[in-house]
Amino acid sequence: MIPNSRKEIIARMLGELGLKDVKELYSDVPQTLLLDRPPDVGKSMSQADVSNVFEREILGRILDVNLIFTGGGIADHYVPALVDELSSRQEFYTSYTPYQPEVSQGVLQALFEYQSLMAELLGMDVVNASLYDYASALGEAGRFSIRVTKRNKIVLASTIHPERYSVLKTYVEPLGTELVSIPYDESGELSLEDLSSVVDESVAMVYVESPNFFGIIETRIEEISQLCHDKGALLAVGVDPLSLGLIKPPGEMGADIVIGEGQHLGGYMNYGGPSLGIFAIKRRFRHIRQMPGRLIGITRTVDGKFRGYSMVLQTREQHIRQEEATSNITTNSSLMAIRAAIYLSLLGPDGIRKVSEKIFYNTLYLKRKINELPCFKTLFPGSISFKEIPVIADKSWENINKFLLSKGILGGFIIGSRFPKLDSEKKIALFSTTEVHTKKDLDYLIQSMREVC
């Protein structure tokens, strides 16, 4: 891996420098700091040996299961082969931030297309070139809303993912922001009554997820948006982009900010990361100036002859604005955004609609079948849900999941103490189903669950 590490090359280069020993390269370092020997991180291993150790000690101790029904914000989606193939091109994955646009048109245009495709899907005007993940996008959305409105209170649905809540808290804590949670109604949707009693002129942002942590689609985004806008608060909506093949996008229902997890669009679970933080806003000049993250725009060559792409509004960013920057983000999730661009380009309107529909069908079917079982029922059975299904059991979920695992199924995510607001008496696990599951898979899950009863 190190072409010049051969002794004779080192000697030759040292000779050019008038040095005898590589240690002299560190003559400016207080000599007491220099270590006698390299750190003990083990001996160098050959490629074949590393492969072997990985197979035996790492892969050998990871479960082998093909049917994944675990929910909680990340799910097993189908990744088209084309996405893997194209995103493994070294020009995409080994390059860095396109600071030199003339040799980086490929990444720039791919990211511009990501911004454009995502804007269409979300019904929004402006999408940045990616943030780290859904949760940090929420953190940035919170800080953005505070900058824009100069208010310092954020109102949230209590049904948002608890980990996202934690991240938001971390991000706004230094600002002393007040966070207010709004309960849900009997359908699992945000309680409008409670919301209207809380939203006033001190609120910077109202945040709601659709589908929410329980997979419930909010059917009253337009009413929520009205409530916010009457008081000058921004509405931020968190989405699962794959639901938007069928569901009207939040941009068309009054959202000022849309965030979401783009991992579902051609990304893998990877034990939780890397992921793709989606961040979109409406096109208001003052807001664009306050956006976090990179933006790619169309420009032209100096001679005016060609259309090209470059990073724009860099004056918002840390490398220029330093402590006045809109965010500290530098390295982002570009490759994941490029994957999402390839995914959306390949699927097109028909492909996206089909994936959305399939997940809806699977969710509806699974919910129905679970509710027919004697010892399980779902939370909010009558509501419209997508992908995630909270299931109540009268037995211990640890045991149920163990049994399911013996059947080759990775079961629900046990909410337990992670979501203390929920009645602790109820034993709830979050299941999810995606387009990878066939009806046979769902029937097999149901049959296995029946055996528990």
């Binding site: 190190i2 080192i10 390269l25 560190y26 400016d28 207080p30 700091l33 270590l35 083990g42 490629q47 590393v50 150790v53 000690e57 479960l63 194209l86 091109r89 995409f92 080994t94 390059s95 860095y96 931030t97 030199q100 646009p101 003339e102 048109q105 990444v107 245009q109 791919a110 990211l111 511009f112 454009s116 804007a119 005007d125 993940d133 996202r164 689609i217 093949g245 069928l246 034990y271 990361g273 890397p274 420009t299 032209r300 060609f306 090209g308 402590e323 500290n328 530098t330 982002n332 999730s333 570009s334 380009s345 390949l346 309107p349 028909d350 492909g351 994936v355 069908y361 419209i384 995510f413």
Partner: protein
């Protein structure tokens, strides 16, 4: 050397068309799944199940076939320069080669399809790899505790700054100032500000290093800490680091280390010996994970015992041979992203360090520093100027100032950079650090061969000669890239940020 990048030219001033120009919008595309008839029959028509007001009527995405998409993105890839294309001396970014074994291992299906909420006892392998990575990072830095959660270096900085903030809240002290040298990465300033600190700038000494007197003048009872990069962004080792640490510690303040430049000293110096309290390491720089066209990276954060209880949750711990996600971090700053970190990136560092071993780790830094010193010497001999630290060895990078070239011939660092493109070299970082006029920040890394380094410096020399003969030619560069010189101002004026905006305003 000469380099001619692929250029796909559609005509009418358009290179590769966008996907919106290639496919008709609103219908078509490639279904990747099918829905079973049985299921549809059992459930019924979704249009009747979903309330009318939330149903989407149209999706204006373009509809394309698989071969069309394959060619389109292949064309785009061809119009992009990567580390495997050629030398990429983007200073401060450590554009090193990624061993392909790391790519292969990260693509194994069992890793890719691993659900973050899978039961711990079923994922012992991945937890073990992450734990081993943490241990190796500890050995390399001397910092005993690590969080692998931050998604990038800047997020690591934020974590570090938040831990320092929380530490003083815990101590009941009001300390709201962070000291940062003027030559630091912009993200340091931004991260400190995000964590609620007031930023105090420390000017450089004539040597380009931290001015100890300026530091002593700035430090006071409100100083929470200082963020330093060592070697700094000039590629100069902060030889006074022990005094700096002393000044801070005797004031009850902490030393934060920005690991962007760790590639210079890895295996030679422990951060803990330099008095560092908290550090972030850039997994995508020093530890060979690729940069992904801008990300994803990973920013591991290491600390001393003093900050152990403040790390983000969960940390990865072990009991005997059992590895687990440990939420028992009493004073944690909370979480900065979902789940546990960019695992797909981190696993590549595990592979990299296994391949290197201890000797290899040291060899990386040795050769990176040797390459930089060799290139710097050659360039100085050719008449290029180094403003700071010329009489001492540089570390893994160095910064030229092209202000003489600009004065004599009107050629700016930007123009010079563009000329390098035509010769097959990715330009260095330019106009940074800000304290060097017409800065050319060059980082060869250990991945370049002597032939390539000679090629790079000879190209610099040749450009200099061309400038003397015909500066006009350099102003026209690049000529061989996919596109000619880009007009940045125009794009910033127009703000055509999506195809839809461009369609309605730009055409």
């Amino acid at each position: 050397m000469r380099y001619i990048q692929a250029r796909w030219e559609e005509g009418d001033g358009i290179l590769e068309p966008t996907v919106f120009e290639l496919g008709k919008r609103g219908d078509g595309g490639t279904p990747i799944v099918s829905i079973e008839e049985e299921l549809m029959e059992e459930i019924g028509n979704l249009d009747e199940i979903l309330p009318e007001k939330i149903v989407r009527r149209s999706i204006d995405l373009p509809g394309l076939s698989e071969p069309e998409v394959a060619r389109h993105f292949s064309h785009l890839a061809q119009m992009n320069f990567g580390v495997d294309s050629g030398p990429y001396w983007l200073g401060s970014c450590t554009m090193k080669y990624t061993p392909k074994l790391a790519m292969r291992i990260a693509s194994v299906s069992k890793i890719r399809r691993l659900h973050p909420y899978a039961p711990e006892e079923q994922v012992q392998g991945i937890l073990k790899a992450l734990y081993e990575l943490k241990e190796m990072l500890s050995k390399i830095t001397g910092l005993p505790y690590f969080s692998l959660q931050p998604a990038a270096g800047a997020q690591g900085e934020l974590v570090g700054a938040l831990m320092i903030r929380k530490k003083f809240m815990d101590l009941g002290e009001k300390r709201d100032e962070i000291l940062i040298p003027e030559s630091a990465h912009g993200s340091n300033f931004a991260s400190a500000a995000m964590a609620g600190f007031k930023v105090i700038r420390i000017p450089p000494s004539d040597e380009g290093t931290v001015d100890l007197n300026a530091l002593k003048a700035a430090i006071n009872e409100r100083t929470a800490g200082m963020m330093i990069t060592n070697p700094n962004t000039l590629g100069i080792f902060e030889s006074d680091v022990l005094e700096i640490a002393d000044v801070l510690h005797s004031n009850g303040s902490y030393l934060y280390y920005d690991g962007a430049n760790l590639n210079a000293i890895m295996g030679w110096i422990l951060l803990s010996d330099m008095g560092v309290d908290i550090a972030h390491l850039n997994i995508h720089k020093t530890f060979s994970a690729p940069h992904g066209g801008g990300g994803p990276g990973a920013g591991a954060v290491g600390t001393t015992e003093e900050f152990r209880d403040f790390l983000p949750i969960p940390v990865i711990s072990r009991r005997g041979d059992y590895y687990f996600l440990d939420y028992n971090v009493p004073k944690t700053i909370g979480k900065v992203r979902m789940f546990y970190g960019n695992i797909g990136v981190l696993i590549k560092a595990w592979v990299y360090l296994k391949l290197l071993g201890g000797e290899g780790v040291r060899s990386v830094s040795t050769v990176a520093v040797l390459n930089a010193n060799y290139a710097r010497k050659k360039l100085i001999e050719m008449g290029f100027e180094v403003l700071y630290g010329k009489d001492r060895p540089c570390k893994h990078e160095f910064v030229l100032s092209l202000s003489e070239v600009k004065k004599k011939y009107g050629i700016r660092a930007l123009d010079f950079a563009k000329a390098l493109i035509d010769r097959g070299f990715h330009p260095p970082t330019i106009y940074f650090p800000l304290i060097v006029p017409e800065a050319f920040m060059m980082e060869p890394t250990e991945s370049d061969s002597l032939r390539e380094i000679d090629g790079y410096v000879n190209a610099m020399k040749e450009i200099l000669r061309r400038i003397e003969e015909n500066p006009e030619e350099i102003l026209q560069a690049p000529k061989n890239s996919a596109i000619g010189r880009i007009d940045d101002v125009f794009g910033n004026k127009k703000l055509w940020l999506t195809w839809k905006i461009y369609e309605s305003e730009g055409r």
